[in-house]
Symmetry: C2
Subunit: 203 residues, 2 copies
DNA sequence: TGACAAATAGAACATTTGTTCTATACCATG
DNA sequence: CATGGTATAGAACAAATGTTCTATTTGTCA
């Protein structure tokens, strides 16, 4: 992105601050007033410069029609909670999404993430409780020892991942549950959805 | 807060969505258009109702002058991470705040919250790991069995809380650590900061 | 020095946007 | 049945806001 002059930076900062405080952007006149400009055109000019450099979006003719970066639809900002995944569906198909967590994507350090709510105590030795939301970074590869979300038939499971030459082993973090072993030709469909990068617990 | 009629809820949702998508609130006419209202007054009326019930703020005379609930400066929206607490300081004094978690206050169901990052394994049987952020709702009372954040001298500690007639007992969730007992006249200063209502783990 | 971008001023004008007043209809509740 | 909250329509008007055009100043860079 092109660099900003110091004045332009000040203007951008004002826009961001104003927006954070009021919930809507300032008018051109408010901008003028804040900086003591005596001409509307001065403010207008700065807005156009900022737009040309890609820092903001100006919507001609609309009052307070300024879009600042970071303004995206809620559904693109929050982490979706995925329930049962219909066979063949992409993970993030709307049909699979039960809810959203009020947490910015990116908070956990990855943009393509989803969450699953854990049921049962099969991961208790990894300090994952019944009801916890586990944050999964979407990727189809995993390293040994990763906690992965895997899709077995149309069920999402959370397990430790291990692989040897000719088999994949999924282990629970609870000795009560036996490991799941997949060899070539296993009739169950199997797919890695992603690896665990975080956890959220309410209560 | 007063309850909303279903129509009012729809309007509020539209306001929130519109704002998230564009970065500024809609005009009354845009509201009309979206819902197919044929009179400006219909939209105007809904805005006033929502304001009366405390869900939004309308700024008379200002174009797109609607402030939605989540519109506050970042520092007022995010959960502060508190480190060491200087003696006598209020918990949320700036001096005590190390960082912010990119999570809306209120996500965990309480407005006055803070987070502490857990060190050590003293709460491991409660499925709380070294490095986890524990979300604390600020209050100076606790019930037996609550996990509380307590200030002992100027150190923040996380423990199970129990009290009997004449003593307070703080237990770890790890048999390795002995309980802490407070009786009247204990030379250490003691204060409950709040109770645990959530947890966030990265990695 | 000439060219050019950044910054600013002033003013007229066109649009967009909010306000207010008057009415009507429906529904629940006492 | 009267009352009050919710929901809606229509219209005239007032205020807020964006647009555009013309100029001037200043500093940088070739």
């Amino acid at each position: 992105m092109e660099n900003l002059s110091s004045k332009q930076e000040q203007v951008l900062k004002f826009l961001v601050d104003f927006n954070a405080e009021h919930g809507f952007p300032p008018t051109i006149r408010e901008l003028c007033h804040y900086f003591g400009f005596k001409s509307l055109n001065t403010a207008h000019f700065h807005l156009r410069s900022l737009e040309k450099k890609g820092y903001i979006q100006v919507h001609p003719g609309k009052g307070r029609g300024i879009t600042l970066p970071g303004a995206r639809p809620l559904s693109e900002r929050q982490i979706p909670v995925v329930g049962r995944i219909a066979a063949g569906m992409p993970i993030l198909a709307l049909e699979n999404i039960e809810d959203f967590l009020g947490i910015d994507k990116g908070f956990f350090g990855a943009e393509t993430t989803f969450a699953v709510q854990v049921r049962g105590d099969s991961m208790k030795d990894a300090h994952i409780q019944d009801g916890d939301y586990v944050i999964i970074k979407i990727q189809d590869q995993a390293e040994k020892g990763d906690i992965v979300a895997a899709l077995i038939d149309d069920e999402v499971t959370l397990k430790y991942f291990y692989r040897t030459k000719n088999q994949i082993r999924l282990e629970s973090a609870n000795p009560k549950y036996p490991p799941l072993i997949f060899r070539k030709g296993d009739p169950r469909s199997f797919r890695i959805l992603g690896i665990m990068i975080g956890l959220v617990r309410k209560r």
